[in-house]
Every structure is written in C-alpha cells, then in structure tokens.
Subunit: 600 residues, 2 copies
Amino acid sequence: MHLLRVLKSLFRVVAYRTKMGISELGTQLAYAGLNQLLKRDSTDADPDIPDDDVNNPVENEIFSSWALFILIMLLIGSLWTSYYLQQKRIQAIHETVVSIFAGMIVGLIIRISPGHYIQDVVTFKYSWFFNLLLPPIILNSGYELNQANFFRNIGSILTFAIAGTFFSALVLGLILYIWTAIGLEGLNMSLVDAISVGATLSATDPVTILSIFNTYKVDPKLYTIIFGESLLNDAICIVMFETAQKFHGQKVYFSSLFKGMGMFFMTFTISLMIGALVGVMTALVLKHSHVRRFPQIESCLVLLFAYGSYFFSTGCHMSGIVSLLFCGITLKHYAYYNMSRRTQIATKYIFQLLAQLSENFIFIYLGLSLFTEVELVYKPMLILVTTAGICVSRWAAVFPFSRLINFVSRARTSHLGLHQTTEEIPPPYQMMLFWAGLRGAVGVALAAGLEGEHSNALRATVLVVVVLTVIVFGGTTARMLEILGIRTGVIEETESDDEFDIESRGAAAAIPLSNSSGSMPAGRMRRSTSYHDDDSEFGSGDDDGLPPMHPSQQDQARASSTSLSNILSRTVDNPGQWFKEFDDQVLKPVFLDNPSNDRH
Amino acid sequence: MHLLRVLKSLFRVVAYRTKMGISELGTQLAYAGLNQLLKRDSTDADPDIPDDDVNNPVENEIFSSWALFILIMLLIGSLWTSYYLQQKRIQAIHETVVSIFAGMIVGLIIRISPGHYIQDVVTFKYSWFFNLLLPPIILNSGYELNQANFFRNIGSILTFAIAGTFFSALVLGLILYIWTAIGLEGLNMSLVDAISVGATLSATDPVTILSIFNTYKVDPKLYTIIFGESLLNDAICIVMFETAQKFHGQKVYFSSLFKGMGMFFMTFTISLMIGALVGVMTALVLKHSHVRRFPQIESCLVLLFAYGSYFFSTGCHMSGIVSLLFCGITLKHYAYYNMSRRTQIATKYIFQLLAQLSENFIFIYLGLSLFTEVELVYKPMLILVTTAGICVSRWAAVFPFSRLINFVSRARTSHLGLHQTTEEIPPPYQMMLFWAGLRGAVGVALAAGLEGEHSNALRATVLVVVVLTVIVFGGTTARMLEILGIRTGVIEETESDDEFDIESRGAAAAIPLSNSSGSMPAGRMRRSTSYHDDDSEFGSGDDDGLPPMHPSQQDQARASSTSLSNILSRTVDNPGQWFKEFDDQVLKPVFLDNPSNDRH
C-alpha cells in the first residue's frame, strides 16, 4: 500500500497546487483519475480494444501513463541499483535478483490494492516479450559476440546446446511424467505434455548469467561456451516446445522422436540461413549504394533489416531468435565495414541500450508476474519436484556431454601428437556450466502456450521455478566463481571501449578466426594489411598488463605458425578453419566495400 | 491483392522447401497461417486480451510477426525512398508524401482483402501514438534544438503558438458551427464540439515541414519560428481540446473562454516546470554521482528520466509534450556537459534514430488509417468546408499576428534608435508561415477522443483533411520556397555532423544565447574559456565559406559589443538576455560538473 499512499499524496500535492489556479482541473480529475485507476472502470479494461478506447482516449491515456511511469521508475531503480552495486563492488547480490525482488514487491502492492487496472496492464504479455523485449537482447548478443572465441568453441557449444538441451528436456519430462503418474496431487499429464514442460524449463537464460560474467570478466572460454549454449538453447527449446505441442492429444510413437529431431534440424538450418542472408544482403546494399552519405537513414535501415529477419523468420514458423542471432553476427562480420563511421557507432550504442533496457525490464516483469497473474494455481509439491527435476536434468545435460567432449578432444590430441588439448573442459568449468543453468523469461513466455486442464498449475510452476533459479543460482554465481577458483578479471577486447576509443576496438573485435596468417588476396583487399595489424594486436592482447589469455588458447596460437602437422591439427581441431580461408579469399572481397571509400 | 499474392507465393516457396524435410510443418501450417491471418479466427482478435491470448501464443505470435514484418517493410521502403530522393536531388516530391501514399496503397490492399486480422492490428491506435511514437520526436526536437535561435525568436514563437493557435481554433470552430447550423448534411454540433474540432485541426505538424526545411537548409530564423510554433501549438491544441471536451454537453458562458485560458496557461507553466525540473535533476544526479564511469547505464538513465517526465506530466493531466520538450532542452543545456563522452554521443544518436523511425511510421500509419478504419463516415461537403476552413483559420492565425509582431518590433526599434529591426517578419516569411500550416498526426490522435453522435463523421473529416494538407502543402513547400525567394542552403551548426566530427560540433551547438561575452565566474567554471572559444567559432560560423547568417542576427551580434544603449536595447529586445546572465553566473556553476572530470 506504500506506493499507493505515495501516489495519492503526490496527487494531493498536485491537486493543491492546481487548486490555486482553478478548481476543476487537478483536484477532482487527478484524484478521481487515481481512484478510477484503482477501481477499474469497465471501459478502461484494455487500451487496445478499439470500441472502448475511441470513446475516452484522454482518460485511457492517463491510466497508461501512470502504468508506464511506474515501470520507468522501476527501471530507473534497477539501473541505479546496478550502478551502486558495481560502484561499491558489492558481489553478494546481483542487479537481476534486485530487479526480480523489486518487481515482486510492486506486484504484491498492486495485487493487494483494490482494482485491476494496473494489474491488467502489467501482466506478463508473451507477445510483448517476443516482439519487443527479446529481439534487442539477441541482436545485441550477435553484434557484440566475440566471433573468434565463439567459432573456436563451436564444437562444445553445439554439443551442449543441441544434444544437452534435448537430453535435459527428455529427462525433466520423464521425471514430471512419473511424478504425475503417481497421482499425489490429482494431476495427470500425457508424456507429450510433460516433455513440453521439460522443453519450457530447459531454456537457460542468456541474460542474468552473462551480465554477471560481464561484471566479473570471467575467462573468455567459459564465457563463450555458456553464452553460446544459452543463446542457442533458447531457440532449441522453442522449436522442441512447438514440436511437442503439435503432438498434443495425439498418440506418440517412438518414431516421433526422430521426426521431431528432423524438424528441429531443418528449422535451425533454415533460420540460420535466413539470418545470414539478411546480413549479407545488408552488406551488399550498403556496399553498392551511397546510403552511407546519409548516416541517419543508414542506421535506421540496419536496425530495420535486422528486425525484419526476426519477424520474417518467426512468421515462416522458423526460429526468429536463431535468425536474429546470425543476422547480428553476419552484420558485424561484413556489413559493419561498409557502414559510415557514424552508423558503426550509432548501431553499437543503440543495440546496447535497447538490450540493457530489455534485460532489466524482463526481470522486473518476472517479479511482477508472480503476484499479478490472477489465474495461476500454485501446487507446492509439484514446484518442489520440478525444482529438483531441473537440477537433475541440468546435471544430465552438462556432465555426460562434458565427458564426451573431453574424450573426443583427448583422442584427437593424442592422435595428432599435440601436448595440450584445446577443447577440454576442466571440472570447475563443468560445475560452473551446471550452475549457469538458471532459467529465464523464455521459459515463462513459452509456458503461456501450454494447453490442457492443468495449464494454470503448470504455468505457475514454471514461473516459480524460473524465479527460484534466478534468485538461487544467480545470487550465488559470484561466490561459486570464487569457490571453483575460476579466473575473473580477464579483460576481453569487447570490454575495452568504455571510453571513446571505438576506432581501434571496433576493428579488433571484428576479426574472427584470424589466428593464422592465411593467404589473402592482395589485389582486391588492400585492407588486409590492417587486418593483420589488428590481428597481431588481437592475438597479443595479454602483453599490455592485462591478465593472460587461457593457456590452451595461447598454445593454440603459438602452435599455429610452426609446422605443417600443427596447421593440419588446427584445421581438424577448429571446424571453422576452412570457412575462415574461404571467407578471406572469396566472401570478404565480394561483401566488403573497397577500402578507398569515404570512411577514415 | 498484389501483396497477398506475393505473400502467398512466398509461403508456397517456404512450404515447398519445408516439404522436402517434413510434411506437417511449413506446408499446412504456414499456408493455414496465412489463410487464418486473413479470415480471422475469433480467438486471434486482439493479441492483448489475456484470455484468448494465453491459449495459443504461438499462433498469435505468427500473426503479429507478419503484421510487424509488413510495417517494417513499409518503413524500409519509405526510408529508401527518402535516401533515393535526397541522393538524386529530387525536389518535387517529399518522403512524407510518399510514406502516406505507400500507407494508403497497403491500407487499400488490406481493406479489400478478406479478413480483419491485419486490419485490426494496423488500425491507428492513439495510445501507441501518444506513448510510443510522439515522445521520441519531441525529445529529439528539444535535444537538437538550436537554443540560441530559439530563445532569440521566443517572442514571435509564443505569439504564433499561443495567440495564433487560440484564434485559429476559434475561427475554425465558428466556421464549422455556422456550416452545421445551416443543416445541409443533417449534422448539428454544439459550439463546444465545433471548437473541439477547431482545436484538433489547429495543431500544425512539426514533422513534415521540418524534414523539408532540414533537407533544403532553410534560413534559420524562419526555420526556428515554424519549428517553435508547430512544437508548442501541439501542446496548446491538446490542452484546448481537453478543456473544450470538459464543457461537452454543458452550457457555455462567455466567462468560460477566460476560464479556459486560465487553465491553459497554468497547464503550460506547470508542464514546463516539470520538464525543466527533471532536466535539472538529471544534471545534478550526473554531477554528484559516478554514473559516468558506466556509460551504458548512464545512457539508459538519461533516456528513462526524459520519458519519465513525459509520462509523469501526462499522468498529472499536464501536457507531456511541453514537459518533454523542455526536459530535452534542459538536458542539452546542463546535463549534456555532465555526461561521459560516450553517453553524449549515444543519447544524440539514439534520440535521432528513434525520432526518424517514429516520423516515418506516423505517416505510413496515417495513410493506412484512411482505409483501415472501418467505422469512419465520409461526408464530402463537410470535408470541403473544413478544408476551406483550415485555410481561413490559418490565415487568421498568421497574418494579423505577423502584423502585430512587426508593429511592436518597429515601435521598439524607433524608440531605441536602432537601424534594423530584429524581430520583424517580412511578407515572404508570412506567406511561408501560412504554407507551413499543414496538419499532422496529433490532430488525428486527438480526434479519436471526439464524443457524440457525429464523432465518426468528424473523425473521418479530420483524417482526410490532415492527409490532404500533408499532400498539398507538403508536396508544394519546396516549390513555394523558390517562388517566395526564401534563402535555402544555409548550413546551420546543427547540420554539420554528418561525418564524425561531433567533438567540435557538439560543443558548438550547445552554447545557448552566448552572443555576448558576459562575465563568468572564473573560479568554479574553468570551462568558461572553452565556452568562449566555441562561442566565437559559433558567432563567426559564416566566415568559412558557408552562406552568411541572417543580416538582422549579424547586426544584433555586432551591435552587442559597442555601446551601453545598445546593450540596453539588446536586453529589451531579447527577453532571454537576463536569463542568460543569471544562467552563466548562478545556474551553470551549480548544475554543471567541474571540468576536471574524466572526460577529455
């Protein structure tokens, strides 16, 4: 009730001031406005229903203004907390946890206060989430991605993201199916529904953990694996969920599993291609036009093309997340060099700002939803079992596959006679991978699509479990990093442009896979020299007083220029190697602009 | 039907590709998706109604994705046209006109195609307009405002914006009242309703005309007056409209006029104060904290504070536009200097990008609405009379008040013995002011709030008249500039940062009212020297090959440093002069940061 009182007293002040001038405005209306806001006039139910809406836009305007104002205040509060925590170097709590709690408190206030209007406005709307909040985060992830690290670890990332998530969803689905089959809570689910919930709760969150890792500047290898996994497995969970929902109410055969897997791989590939094609198209448009003379239009176009790929892909029943992610990567890899200097900076900053706002918003929203979603049914036992279940399923997703990766990596290393394995994941990293399996808003948004009689109970379970994992795992990640002795404070190139030295940084961060001094076409690509300059700067980033790179990476880099067998081993080790050379010799000359353009 | 066919064939291609992999996904679903999209399943009516929404989010997701994709394609098209027109230096047509036509064509396609789903999604939603589209434009206007020019012409701006708009609304209201009293079309309106419509159609549009003026780099004095007038008169029309609507159905006395005027002035003042306070508060927060060490958070906070002022002001029944405008001005005047370099650039670019997207969006939306708003009733005679009426009312708003300004200006000049008048508005400028009176989206958004039995006819009239004025006046502005012999190609400081020289430009554009070398406190403000440097650069901006400033301004600047009587005359002439000195001596030392911070 505190917020309400604050609001009411605020109104009294305004009303008092207003009364000095005239009597009607302010006094009656502002106060009545607040009361109406709380008591909910039936005509104000939904600002998007045209019939009601047309009749009193000014009134509705006031209501939505207050709702938006409250949300903005929450955002400011959460950002300020974030600043304060970073400024005071407080490691025990993290801003996302604070955001969730702030959301919960405000949600509780809204819940116990009379009236439904604000409650309706702030309810978790999956469509907002998918169309407004998620795209900036994914786009920024792709744009900010350290491409060298990402492609270096692509094997591990894909193993965890695809096989791990698939296995995790199956395990959690089975646990839930068995639990409900026991029938202690009067719930009974089909296997397909159980696997749907399993898929929903296998989407690990790319936001919290990465914001924590960013704060502590965790070792890039671990960062990259967790980043890549959590980004891709969202897409995988969405596709799995949709596939499972298609079998809802149908008889399931063992062959359905393979059918589902086929559908998944196709969706993934087509989505990736849509994203990459849009990115390449943007690069070509920027190359063959003079849009860079109008940087304002150019920035808008880049943003719109990226969003276009997301909505087109979603509209085609593909995965918008995958498309947008790879569109972001392609944009940064090719189109970025064809942009005017101003657009390069503008797009970077805009994507970052939108992503930051969305992230904070999502956690506030999650907290709010706990109390403002009215029809949820909370089943304590189910929640407990599910919480235990996600730990088991995460365990099942991380440890067996880590062993597999280590085994393959060692076998390859001994086969090729290298001293150090490059892909191996040491036990502390495995534990951290397990710990990083906190669930996020994608799961909650997916759960909105659950069908059947128990959907409200399941939705409530998903929401509570997600909030619990964020609070428990998110709140203890910093401590866990210490306990496991994982190196922090590693300054990556991507982190170095706090102040205004984008010139050097932008170039350095965008050289993917450039560890080897492969042959470059000197004729068309006069810029290749600058690539090499940046390359060496990039490879020896640990010389200037920064903590050293991970030893395995250094070894890899050192080994790269010695013998033929090592070059061979590197090519086998790094599945992206062939692409790097193809990229340098064929793609870049086609997609990149001639360096003799008007950029400096 | 063309778009539909394109979409369907697109789907067929996707379906074909998809069929190769599996049979269900893609083929059936994507095709069925499009059909459903057109035939409108009742559950997909509104994506924001939670009950329907919860049940099939994936389906709804697909529909809204297509709608958003179409809008993004339209935006890309309109931006590309804008680029093409600027690139080829085509002056006959302007992008806003193209946007409206593109919107109309797509609207027509949607209208004649079966189904309502897209139609519902793309209907003009006043709440989107007020909460999403308008704020970025206004904020960017305030942030980009040439403060020196604005405050130099503040007298003319306020005269046109307040007195002119008030008079215009009354004249148009009377014309409509008399026309409907004749009763040719079976409409009868009360005087209050007629004045409501008058207010709706007195809001001149700050978007089109300024984008045209920006393209042609029109003389800054004329630009500033039209800019200031169109910005402020939106706020005034909103307040007038709300005031008039409060008298809806009541008996109106002559005293109501004065009451309304009182309400208006209070609203304006309080709104201005809210905006300025938020701006100053932001400056103080930035000064007294270390947020600038975290530029990402800083950028978000600046944006959120600005939006907060808008929604707070609207929530308090004040004018959000006025608050946001003055918040933007205050932010640029004080807070800008306390920001990190990165945030300065980031906020500038982000505000510009958001404003650009919103502007294009609004015109597409207007075009769409002509065909997609189903319940509109078009009355040709009323539309004709209203079109004539707005010309008469604009005439009444511009010419008498221009005479008044010229009379006062001349009287003051002869009284003070100056050779040249500073505020005088020559006849070509008056004509251009008349021509710049095209109406925009604010009017359409306000018209959504009209009540009574004839509201649909009135809404249709407003929409058609707005589109007509944009097409006719907007399409002929370039020609009119030529005919009237108004100087174009004047390069302002605000226009000079196409490439990446923000360092000098940002400083130059942000020195408001700094024509006189007033005394500055040397102790706290070590930065004052750099102000003077920039100041002289700013004053003599016409030496480096650029077209000269307006003669009256030069005279004013020259006269400023000669004799006591001239200083006196300048102070009387320029109502902002006393503020400038107060600002330099008291406000800036308090609000601005010490120059010894970590900015370079």
